[in-house]
Amino acid sequence: MIARSNRIALLAVPGLAFLAIIYALPLFLLLFKSIQGAEGLTLASYIDFFGDEFNRTVLWRTLRVALLTTLLALVIAYPTAFAMARAKGIWLTVFLVALVLPMSLGVIVKAFAWSILFRSNGFINTTLQAIGITDEPVRMLFTETALVIGAANVFLPFMVLPIYSVIRQLNKSLPEAASSLGATPWFRFTRVTLPLSLPGVVAGSAFTFSLAISMYVIPSLIVGERQQTLSMLIARSFLYLRNEPLGSTISAVLLAIAIFVVLFSSWLAGRLGARQ
């Protein structure tokens, strides 16, 4: 039997070989080229990159926007997943349709829809003025707030679904048992429900954060060139400036962040799994 299970292991070879050649090798070469100088290995391009204050601002903005997007998505997603886990029949269908249907609308159309809403003569401003909250149009398009709201909207399903699937499987009798033993609701939530739902929170947050640091279409439609992010710098250096070394360096920085997020979240998920 052992011989056969070894043969079965060979079935993984085509898929792995494909990914290794078409996906991992190009990324490795990109990283390698970014530290390759005229004579030997060098970190010069990174020193240049981080030495420029503009680049540091862009890096910081990218991380801040991604973090705020993840937080906003989490704040909406957690109670929603909680309500979904209790929903039945038509309400459950409504929740599921609301999560899945927007995925069929491409990210370009979604981001563009948000840019229509945020315009100074757009729907939100007209409404705010009509109900008298403000007299003059509030500038929303081209702001970081608009970007965070739009991005959170696009990535929300990826935050809700993992949390929902964890909370749903959570044994309902556990919080009740805690309650019958005299635990206060706050104690029940912080000591029972929250820790058990953390794997879903980690999975959803890691996914949302990595999508948010690398998003390109959403910022280019909602904030445009005024507030660059790392992805927009990459696109600009390759597609418009034709400055490949610069583009490769920024790509390597963004890639390093993404790899860190993947490794850190899988380490965290492993630890959470081990604790339970």
Binding site: I8, G15, F18, L30, A77, T80, I116, L117, L156, S210
Partner: protein
């Protein structure tokens, strides 16, 4: 149920309903603007009209882009299903170290920055002398679709009872035939879900494709962003509304055959 419980549940439902409205908002905006008579995006539309639906067939290059995107999405999803099935069986049944690492690796393209993957592939394809845009795009789209297929297949094969395969083999089926006749029908929901999400991800991909297209091979998202920059009239909203109707049909079929809850569970 205590008072605090009721408040918590009320709070969760309030946020949940806000969340539903928030998620549906872009769809509502898109559909509403598609029926406008105006040449610019205004809300609410000054007058209702179907002119942007009629204008769709005059859009040059749009149908070519739709065809190319459908072609790439279908073929790359099919390739991913074959490669993914084999790899997932190996992880579920093989005896070797590093299964977790394989799972992380095969799903990792989902979390890598699209533009960076696109740049890296562009440079790599240039170096090995692959200059054909269609083949570059197809290889890239297999990388886009494979993680979605892998994610659902790994989860569902972990729960699959492989003694059914052994039983089929005892009854005289060959291994590949047993996979085809027993495993795949049993995991139909996972295939439908993984395949659907993979298909959508391929249809929607902009950041990787932008580096691999040429003048003759432009995928739908690239064409759409180009239109938005050149002449942003509501015909794109009309086309997207058409896609939404198609998605609703697919969702109704999927919920009848698989069940929505099962679909998102894997």
């Amino acid at each position: 149920m205590t008072q605090t419980d009721r408040i918590t549940i009320f709070f969760a439902w309030t946020i949940g309903i806000i969340c539903i409205i928030f998620l549906m908002l872009p769809i509502i905006i898109t559909v509403a603007t598609s029926f406008t008579s105006s040449a610019v995006y205004t809300l609410p539309p000054p007058e209702w009209s179907l002119r942007w639906y009629r204008s769709l067939d005059r859009r040059s290059g749009l149908w070519e882009a739709v065809q190319l995107s459908l072609n790439l999405a279908l073929i790359s999803t099919a390739i991913s299903i074959v490669l993914g099935t084999m790899a997932a069986i190996a992880v579920a049944r093989g005896e070797f170290r590093g299964k977790q690492a394989i799972a992380t690796f095969t799903v990792s393209p989902l979390m890598m920055p699209g533009l960076v993957v696109g740049v890296a592939m562009l440079q790599f394809f240039r170096e090995i002398g692959l200059r054909d845009a269609y083949w570059s795009l197809l290889l890239a789209h297999v990388v886009i679709t494979l993680p979605f297929v892998m994610r659902t297949l790994l989860a569902s094969m972990g729960a699959f009872d492989f003694s059914l395969i052994d039983a089929a083999r005892t009854l005289g089926m060959s291994y590949p035939r047993a996979i085809l006749k027993v495993l795949i029908p049993n995991l139909a929901p996972a295939y439908l879900t993984g395949g659907l999400f993979a298909f959508l991800a391929s249809m929607d991909n902009y950041p990787i494709s932008i580096f691999l297209t040429d003048a003759r091979n432009k995928t739908l998202p690239i064409k759409m962003l180009q239109y938005l920059e050149e002449q942003p009239d509501p015909s794109l909203a009309a086309m997207s509304s058409g896609l939404i109707v198609m998605a609703i049909v697919v969702l109704v079929v999927a919920s009848r055959t698989v069940g929505l809850n099962k679909m998102i569970d894997t």
